[in-house]
């Protein structure tokens, strides 16, 4: 988060306010599944932006984050005894869909 906020400022932009959210965390399995959804969504969201980034340094930075999100999702799925991959090719998810999904996962109850 700090790296992205710094990069946005370096590029002359203003980072958005950090979101407020309710996290439904009442058992360890629920926590792991929630984390898996969030990390999977994060990975798919970064993936969808990769072909739109003209600045090669920024692309390198986003790639460095994207694969860590992928690691988190893969590790959480492995913990839960589930398939750590979505098949041989991961699919992108576009920004508006990611925001909608995040909103429905974290909507204040």
């Amino acid at each position: 988060v700090k790296a992205l906020e710094g990069t946005i400022r370096d590029l002359g932009g203003k980072p958005p306010l950090r979101p407020r959210a309710n996290f439904p965390l009442d058992s360890s399995e629920v926590i792991l599944r929630f984390a898996l959804d969030i990390e999977g969504l994060g990975a798919s969201g970064y993936l969808a932006q990769l072909d739109r980034i003209a600045d090669k340094k920024l692309l390198a930075a986003i790639l460095a984050i994207h694969s860590v999100e992928a690691r988190h999702a893969g590790a959480l799925a492995t913990f839960l005894g589930e398939d750590p991959t979505p098949g041989a090719f991961a699919r992108p998810a576009f920004a508006s869909d990611v925001l909608n999904q995040l909103h429905s996962l974290t909507a204040p109850g």
């Binding site: 790296a3 898996l36 959804d37 999977g40 969504l41 990975a43 798919s44 993936l47 969808a48 990769l50 072909d51 739109r52 090669k56 340094k57 692309l59 390198a60 930075a61 790639l63 460095a64 984050i65 994207h66 694969s67 860590v68 999100e69 992928a70 690691r71 988190h72 999702a73 893969g74 590790a75 799925a77 492995t78 913990f79 005894g81 589930e82 398939d83 750590p84 991959t85 979505p86 098949g87 041989a88 090719f89 991961a90 699919r91 992108p92 998810a93 576009f94 869909d97 999904q101 429905s104």
Partner: protein, 209 residues
């Protein structure tokens, strides 16, 4: 291991929009390649990637070499490393996925007018599960760094997206085998890109070759 989309079930229903026709076609091609074999990919990719530059083909050939090495590694491990249980299951699944990457990359290189290189020769010497997991972690970590270093060199947006979909799977493989090996699945907050020379060095060191 149950089949569940790790992208979350909700994501499966997410509409894909706002993308170019060619990236839609390429996506379709990759999906068809993984479902029906690489031969099914040909009619789509040739149209989608007609504008590809020679330097992009070199990146694809670099990726192909890496995937061939990984596919050969999982095949060797399944033969010689006495794998059992969920580790065997992982090796089977990941090996199949690396082979799908090999098939799609070979197909794409050929259709773009390039010549896919032969599989690199390597000996892995893994004879037990522990050695398998440790070498798998090193190779998958190297794969992630290799793709992260190579993708910014690509000039064709559709290829960036397609290879991005592959590196994400490499990252997931890396995390799973690291976890099984008792290692931190994500040892760093950022996976830095590696140069081709760094990749070759890491592979030489890992395989003792």
């Amino acid at each position: 291991m149950s089949r569940r989309d790790p992208n979350s079930p909700a994501l499966a229903a997410v509409e894909v929009h706002g993308m170019t026709r060619s990236s839609f076609l390429l996506r379709g091609a990759l999906a068809a390649g993984s479902m029906y074999g690489a031969g099914a990919v040909a009619p789509w990719v040739s149209g989608a990637l007609a504008q590809t530059k020679a330097s992009d083909i070199e990146v694809l050939k670099f990726a192909l070499g890496l995937e061939q090495l990984e596919a050969a590694f999982y095949a060797a491990a399944l033969k010689f490393a006495n794998l059992a249980g969920d580790v065997k299951e992982i090796a089977t699944e990941f090996g199949k996925q690396e082979q799908e990457h090999v098939d799609v990359l070979r197909e794409a290189i050929t259709m773009l007018g390039g010549k896919p290189g032969p599989a690199p020769k390597a000996k892995f010497g893994v004879t037990d599960q522990k050695a398998f997991l440790e070498l798998a972690a090193k190779l998958e970590d190297t794969g992630v760094g290799a793709y992260n270093g190579a993708l910014p060199k690509l000039t064709t947006p559709d290829l960036i997206l397609a290879l991005g979909g592959i590196v994400q799977v490499e990252g997931r493989h890396a995390a799973a085998v690291r976890l099984k090996a008792g290692q931190d699945p994500a040892p760093r907050a950022f996976d830095a890109g590696l140069s081709p020379a760094q990749v070759q060095g890491a592979i030489r060191q890992a395989t003792g070759g």
